[in-house]
């Protein structure tokens, strides 16, 4: 069995233009590994949504990615304000994004729902005032 591939990314907290760099890099790695189109798509979309969330709400943070022949695991860690009510945040259309962010076309309240939809497994751990960690898994086989 090959060693899992591990990657780590810093997500800047204030720069929209750089959001998507990490998911883009992971996407190119997955394509080189020959993962199915469907798996690549699921990882790319769920991770991009998570990355954007980290920029808008989390003040940036770190993303850890681990790839095995069976699954792609992503761990998105920020030290932002945390999520008060996770079940509310999971509702489609619910957003606490400020007006300035909405004007850029973000903040439609689809971030977390899309992450849940495109990943096969998702867990959120959040403590108000301390930060949020989102773990997502996309099955490869």
């Amino acid at each position: 069995m090959p060693e899992p591939i591990k990657m780590e990314y810093d997500v800047p907290g204030d720069d929209f233009t750089r959001a998507g760099a990490a998911s883009g890099d992971v996407k190119s790695v997955l394509k080189k590994l020959g993962l199915s189109s469907e798996a690549v798509r699921k990882v790319a979309i769920s991770m991009y949504e998570g990355e954007i969330n980290m920029v808008i709400h989390g003040g940036g943070g770190k993303i850890y990615v681990e790839i095995t022949p069976e699954a792609v695991r992503m761990s998105l860690v920020d030290h932002g304000p945390g999520i008060k009510d996770i079940s509310l945040a999971m509702q489609e259309g619910w957003s606490t994004a400020p007006e300035s962010v909405r004007n850029l076309g973000f903040g439609a309240g689809m971030g977390l729902p899309n992450m849940k939809k495109y990943s096969d497994h998702m867990e959120i751990h959040s403590v108000v005032g301390e930060g949020t960690t989102v773990d997502m898994t996309v099955q490869v086989i």
């Binding site: 090959p2 060693e3 590994l33 020959g34 790319a44």
Partner: protein
């Protein structure tokens, strides 16, 4: 991999190649390396976009196309002028002058690709009424973009418009009509495309979506242009040959095809870097509410092709002027057309040339090695090893066609350690005397 399957219309003049890395750096599929001081194209990866021809300062990269004598092979010759051709001339308001000059050049007939483009636009509009197709629909008319999607964006293949490009439609319609008119067998009728780009040459020799192309020869606009300039003066002003409207002629520059699809929610991107950015974003579903996406590998669209004469932006302006005098559209499909003549005969499938290995476990091992090698390199992306970046070099090493010694910075490190070793060795004196050792031992 069977490289006989990969014909390319981009070739290298070895004598002119300096082995610099201009083309290596700009290739959108990382298909070029420098080996033994000369550029080498990795055939499976090349998409014939012509970017290397454009950037080569020594004109060593060249496009293959047919010589004018290709016309002599046929007893009945039909010219298929690309809409981009109309944008090459100064102070021209009348397409008939160009078409008349083509006839004087020795062609027996002319069939405008712009005319076929109007039929393709009509078919596109009808295709897009279907409920069962993934959106947005991505245009397939630019052969370089289609090949790019095939090697780099397999997820998007279901979105690609499975329709023959206007050039193919034009060749088939023109040849069938000529066969009926003249009674000649098909092989004596030649459909010859006057092309703005080398990717079209590849599309003719190695078509996607069909087994065989209907086009028999491809001439470069820049080769035909000087002939047309002199012959245009002889064309009588009464000639009435033009048969395409604004919509068809508009295909010659970026945005024309999308506008003719008559969809409000469309996007048109041109220039290979921009095209890649849009494809990446489409793959990540960053666009909502888009119906149609037009993509052209060349800046400005087909007027930006490397076989043109005029600057793309000037050509675009000229095309705009000439369009003004045309009706909106002159060609439509019959009401009950089932589009089958226009749709691809066979699907275009993913070509996994970027994969490290067919076995994911082996691919993962290679990826881990690649990351490890990359961490040892300097990240200068200088290109001296012949690869476009350190990452690409690491990949080349894992694939077995490069080695770390090819990195000049690694080489410098080696020489430094060798030099310091030499210095150390040169200063080496037979060590402390045996006597003093013996004394210390006491």
């Amino acid at each position: 991999m069977d490289t006989t399957n990969f014909f390319h219309s981009v070739t290298l003049d070895r004598d002119k190649c300096h082995g610099c890395i201009n083309c290596v750096k700009r290739c959108p599929t990382e298909a070029i390396r420098v080996r033994n001081g000369k550029a080498v194209i990795i055939k499976e990866r090349c998409i014939d976009c012509g970017e290397c021809i454009r950037v080569c300062p020594h004109h060593a990269k060249q496009a293959l196309f047919d010589p004018l004598t290709v016309m002599d092979r046929f007893s009945y010759k039909i010219a298929l002028p690309a809409p981009a051709l109309y944008g090459q001339f100064n102070n021209l308001d009348d397409i008939d002058l160009i078409l008349g000059a083509l006839l004087r050049m020795g062609f027996d007939d002319v069939y405008e690709v712009a005319k076929a483009a109007e039929l393709v636009s009509d078919a596109t509009r009808r295709y897009m009424q279907r409920e069962d197709i993934p959106r947005p629909v991505i245009s397939s008319a630019c052969p370089a973009v289609l090949r790019l999607i095939r090697v780099r964006f397999p997820q998007l293949l279901p979105n690609v418009l499975p329709m023959h490009a206007p050039i193919e439609v034009a060749a088939r319609m023109a040849k069938k009509a000529a066969a009926q008119k003249t009674g000649l067998p098909m092989d004596q009728i030649g459909a010859i495309f006057i092309s703005p780009c080398p990717a079209k040459v590849t599309a003719v020799k190695m078509p996607l979506g069909a087994e065989k192309s209907w086009v028999d020869g491809v001439l470069a606009i820049r080769e035909v242009y000087p002939k047309l300039i002199s012959l245009m003066r002889e064309v009588p002003s009464s000639a009435e040959l033009a048969n395409a409207g604004r919509m068809g002629v508009g295909w010659g520059s970026s945005g024309g095809e999308a506008a003719a699809a008559l969809k409000e929610r469309f996007l048109a991107a041109d220039g290979i870097e921009n095209v890649i950015r849009v494809l990446e974003d489409l793959e990540d579903e960053k666009f909502y509410d888009l119906d149609f996406v037009e993509l052209n590998a060349c800046s400005g669209g087909c007027v930006g092709g490397v076989l043109n004469v005029e600057n793309p932006y000037v050509a675009k302006a000229k095309l705009k002027r000439i369009r003004k005098y045309r009706p909106v559209s002159c060609n439509h499909l019959p009401e009950d057309d089932d589009l089958s003549r226009l749709l691809w005969d066979e699907p275009v499938e993913y070509e996994p040339v970027m994969e490290l290995d067919a076995d994911i476990k082996v691919a993962m091992e290679k990826m881990n090695r690649m990351k490890e090698i990359e961490s040892r390199l300097y990240g200068m992306d200088c290109g001296s090893c012949g690869a476009p970046s350190c990452k690409a070099m690491a990949e080349d090493i894992v694939r077995g066609f490069s080695s770390e010694e090819a990195c000049i910075f690694k080489l410098r490190d080696e020489m430094r350690s060798l030099a310091s070793g030499l210095t150390r060795l040169s200063q080496f004196m037979p060590g402390p005397s045996i006597n003093s050792d013996v004394e210390q031992d006491k």
